[in-house]
Symmetry: C2
Subunit: 227 residues, 2 copies
Amino acid sequence: MSKPSPRGASIDDGATEFATRDERKQRTRASLLDAALKLMAEGRSFTSLGLREITREAGVVPTSFYRHFRDMDELGLALVDEGGATLRQLLREARKDVAPVNDIIRRSVRSYLQFLKARQMHFMFIAGERSGGSPVIRSAIRNQVNLFVLEMSQDLRRLNFLPNLSTATLQLLCGLVVNTMLNAASDILDMPQDEPALEQALVDNFVRQLRMIFLGAMNWKEPAPKA
Amino acid sequence: MSKPSPRGASIDDGATEFATRDERKQRTRASLLDAALKLMAEGRSFTSLGLREITREAGVVPTSFYRHFRDMDELGLALVDEGGATLRQLLREARKDVAPVNDIIRRSVRSYLQFLKARQMHFMFIAGERSGGSPVIRSAIRNQVNLFVLEMSQDLRRLNFLPNLSTATLQLLCGLVVNTMLNAASDILDMPQDEPALEQALVDNFVRQLRMIFLGAMNWKEPAPKA
DNA sequence: CTTTTCAGTAAACATGTGTTCACCGTTTAG
DNA sequence: CTAAACGGTGAACACATGTTTACTGAAAAG
């Protein structure tokens, strides 16, 4: 009659039995974070999540929450950190596919989509709470995204991509690309996932948008610095 | 002499006194909508708003809510309608400033900013709930935004702006512009409003992003239709 | 082996929630 | 002028919420 919790990872993995105390703690911490993400994936905003709701979903008693986070904001910030880590990982992944200068965009989009599917919830969280919800986590997300933009522009510079553009302009370009990326993310993740035709349409549109942006960047003329 | 009101010190507005019943109803309906917007402006997402909270802010008793909306979703959809109307009004406004083909972008941005300030909350709502929160209002917003993109592209066509671009490409361009607009909106509205220097930086960045996009559009080559 | 530490538990609390119901007083329609 | 329609009211309901307090039992430290 054991009704296991509906979470994906089953509770006793076998490994659970022989885990050190600290490992166990990190484990329930992670399941709290996962619970929050899962609830958001079902169409709720972060600010609408309740503490009890999360602990219920995570399979612990409400009071356990306080062993890990002072309040909901702290949990939200932890989620932002995870999201930031995901973004950085995406960037690290992208650094490998630098070889063919030919059809970069289409290639990059392909690996981005792959990454997007693998971390659906993180992207949903970032894209969703970037402009809505609690000011504190909103600004934390903005920081992470700005950092991402910065790193990306540095990568482009290092690759000698559009070498005649100033650093500021490269950052402008990357900001535009990242906005487009995140918009596309929430568009794509919102789709019924059994409609490959519609998804393909969205992806094609995404690719064309990027092409247009890069076309603009390639034809950009740096203004002479004002006297 | 006015006859003494039985409820004692009631503030008559003059206007309130001589309103027809239906006008009064629309008035409290509007104050419910405004209350919701105001609460969101204080840094909450729509899904986190409570029915009682809204009626409290609006100055009516909770049960009155049901005289206007079946539930919170219905109120949310009403807000989306208002937001859509705002967008359409922005477009109508923009149709007037078509004369100088010279520095269109800077001019358009200026009037956009003016509009943005005047309807802060609507834009905050649209930009904030576009990717987060309840699926039903999210998709409603998406509809309104798509409609806006469509109308805008038709306007550009009518103005013979970039006449060598196909309709699909014009829509692509407008989608990109609208995304950039909405992102800029939430960036700008988030700022402490007594920092004109930072705001100017954001606006400049916004203008440059648009320039880059339009540059891309101007250099766009329509692909030959595939055999 | 003993003692301390500490993640998770159980019960209780004050307060907030959405929704229902019968009711009132004015506006509207006949 | 009378009767109906109707926007707004107040009390009540069953239940959910965040947080506190004291407790448990196993892992870690001595």
